[in-house]
């Protein structure tokens, strides 16, 4: 159906696309952010947010207000939107929406697994899980006492099962550092997601391909940056990079060898798309990198709304909302901690 989505797309997914575009216009604008930045207290922030899409979620919050409460309520808004869309989606789109949430699901599984290994209360762990990453059998994760049983009893029934079986041996399950496991799973997930999008084809495949390539390259960059000075070997590091993206495969080789920030930078600048990001950074500065990468992601997500008749807006909407929640968290923390001077350091303007 390459290039002919417009003929059939609206039959099944037209309504939901309208919905997601509606949600998109509910995102905070620069004017909203400016108002939020003027706030003197969390109460003011709440007042400002009441005038936005978050209004119904925050208006009944009693004082004293905390940043976590605000973030929690804003996340609830995203989750509610998402659940409604998921309920209305037909097969293909539904699968796509599920794929978008697997990242959270991996986090939740890892959370429960580590929690169980440290003998924490299951209910307490479930409360901490991200609501977007919930699946039916999640509570039963805690019945297993070791990783092998966990896989045999619970994980086989989850969508994550292939990621486990293809990438981790039984020995790995028992001994592997939990962070490496998380990142291995994430790599498998991104590979799988990219594959799925490709199979969808059309505009979805094209635009999602771009976004996922960026996502995976950013991951590779972060993993490299964060593993400098740790006991993670170069081979292990390389195993965590996904098998696609603009850096694959030569960039990955260079990243795997990198020992400091300047080498990473040299490796990244060979890709024109990323050279522009790094040119904004001063030499030897890695602190601002996160924000620049977030900005790039937001830019790409916003751009994908320009085209119609594809699934990417749903993914982009989730990413944008999450960034918005991060922004709100940043602003609230700055206000609460009286660090107004730093307030612009963390906001990534959406529109």
């Amino acid at each position: 159906m390459w290039g002919f989505e417009m003929l059939t797309y609206n039959i099944q997914d037209g309504f939901l696309e309208a919905v997601v575009r509606g949600h998109r216009s509910g995102l905070l604008t620069v004017a909203d952010y400016n108002n939020l930045c003027q706030c003197e207290s969390l109460e003011d922030i709440k007042l400002n947010l009441t005038a936005t899409d978050y209004g119904t979620y925050l208006s009944n919050e009693a004082s004293p207000l905390y940043t976590t409460t605000i973030v929690e309520k804003c996340t609830k808004k995203l989750v509610d939107d998402w659940v409604k869309m998921r309920a209305n989606a037909d097969e293909k789109l539904g699968q796509f929406l599920d794929y978008c949430t697997y990242g959270h699901m991996i986090d939740n599984v890892v959370l429960i697994v580590t929690g169980t290994l440290h003998e924490r209360d299951v209910q307490e762990l479930l409360d901490k899980c991200h609501p977007l990453g919930m699946f039916d059998s999640i509570a039963t994760l805690a019945v297993a006492s070791n990783m092998r049983e966990l896989y045999r009893l619970v994980l086989v029934d989850t969508p994550l099962a292939p990621y486990f079986s293809e990438n981790l041996s039984h020995e790995d399950l028992d001994e592997m550092n939990i962070e490496i496991m998380r990142n291995t799973l994430y790599k498998a997930y991104l590979d799988d997601f990219a594959h799925f999008c490709e199979s969808l084809g059309g505009t979805t495949g094209e635009v999602m391909g771009d976004l996922l390539a960026f996502e995976t390259d950013r991951r590779a960059l972060n993993i490299t940056l964060n593993s400098i000075g740790t006991e993670l070997t170069r081979e292990d590091r390389k195993k965590l990079y996904s098998n696609f993206g603009l850096l694959y495969p030569h960039g990955h080789n260079e990243l795997a060898q990198a020992e400091d920030f300047d080498q990473i930078r040299a490796a990244m600048e060979k890709v024109p798309a990323y050279a522009s990001i790094f040119s904004k950074l001063g030499f030897g500065e890695s602190q601002m990198l996160d924000k620049l990468l977030y900005e790039e992601e937001v830019k790409r997500c916003v751009m994908c709304f320009e085209q119609q008749f594809h699934y990417t807006p749903f993914y982009a909407y989730m990413k944008l909302r999450e960034q918005e929640i991060r922004n709100i968290m940043w602003i609230s923390e700055c206000v609460a901690q009286d660090q107004k001077a730093r307030i612009t350091d963390g906001i990534v303007y959406t529109f």
Partner: protein, 268 residues
């Protein structure tokens, strides 16, 4: 209590006087020693106070920085990173060691933070995103914990020293304003009493002597009369006898004469 004339209730004797003098010497010595101790404590006290002020002024910034670095970490690695960290913690990396310090005989509790070296599982936390922020957050929190321990150490020392200082000062003041004046008062009282006793004794002796002389004079006069009545021829001999008696007038006028004379009634 510390009124001008307060004194111990003691019998005013020479023995007690000796005792009191000894006590006064002791009190003076004790006072000097305690004064020295109080001075040493005050010096240390001031020093600690200075350090506390310095530390507290720095603390605001460091804590602010630490809290904000947490925000940065959460910003770049997501809310869920907190749970990951909670679950990965097994033993404390910083332990506080307790000990005792000795300042002029006052025992002061001493705390010291000790970072237990060794590889932590935390190194790879946030590998996918935000790992660096987490590490810097960790560093700034370690810094603030160390500062907190140092402050706790100083504050405890401060409180303990304060108490010790109060007790010592109270003792110094008590010795200076109550005990020593009281002993001094007692000593002067005993001295006064002793003098008084001496004067009374002297007066009594004089009185006795006077009585004696009076009696003697009366007897002589009576004898003379009798003699005169018996025969006038013996008058000359009687008058000679009269001259043998000690000169009464001169004896009464001069005090020293009493001491120079021998009298059977005077025992000492």
């Amino acid at each position: 209590m510390s009124g001008g004339r307060a004194r111990y209730i003691v019998p005013p004797t020479v023995t007690t006087l000796g005792q009191m003098k000894l006590r006064l010497v002791g009190a003076t010595k004790g006072h000097a020693l305690l004064k020295k101790k109080a001075d040493a404590l005050t010096m240390r006290f001031r020093q600690i106070l200075k350090e506390i002020i310095e530390k507290k002024e720095g603390m605001g910034d460091i804590m602010k920085h630490a809290f904000f670095s947490l925000t940065e970490a959460v910003y770049s690695s997501g809310e869920s990173v907190k749970n990951t960290i909670f679950d990965n913690v097994e033993t404390a990396t910083i332990k506080v060691n307790g000990g005792l310090d000795n300042v002029a005989g006052v025992k002061i509790p001493k705390f010291a933070a000790e970072v237990i070296p060794g590889e932590t599982k935390m190194d790879l936390t946030g590998l996918g995103r935000g790992g660096q922020q987490l590490q810097s957050c960790r560093k700034s929190y370690i810094k603030s914990i160390e500062l907190l321990v140092a402050l706790a150490n100083l504050q405890t020392a401060f409180v303990t020293l304060d108490e010790a200082l109060k007790v010592t000062n109270r003792r110094v003041n008590a010795l200076e304003n109550v005990v020593k004046p009281m002993i001094e008062n007692t000593i002067s009282y005993i001295k006064g009493e002793l003098d008084e006793l001496e004067r009374e004794e002297f007066f009594r002796l004089k009185k006795v002597q006077k009585n004696k002389q009076k009696q003697a004079a009366a007897q002589v006069a009576r004898q003379e009369l009798e003699n005169m009545a018996a025969n006038g021829s013996t008058l000359e001999t009687a008058e000679e006898e009269n001259f043998d008696l000690p000169p009464l007038k001169a004896g009464a006028g001069k005090t020293s004469s009493l001491l120079n004379e021998k009298d059977d009634d005077i025992i000492y």
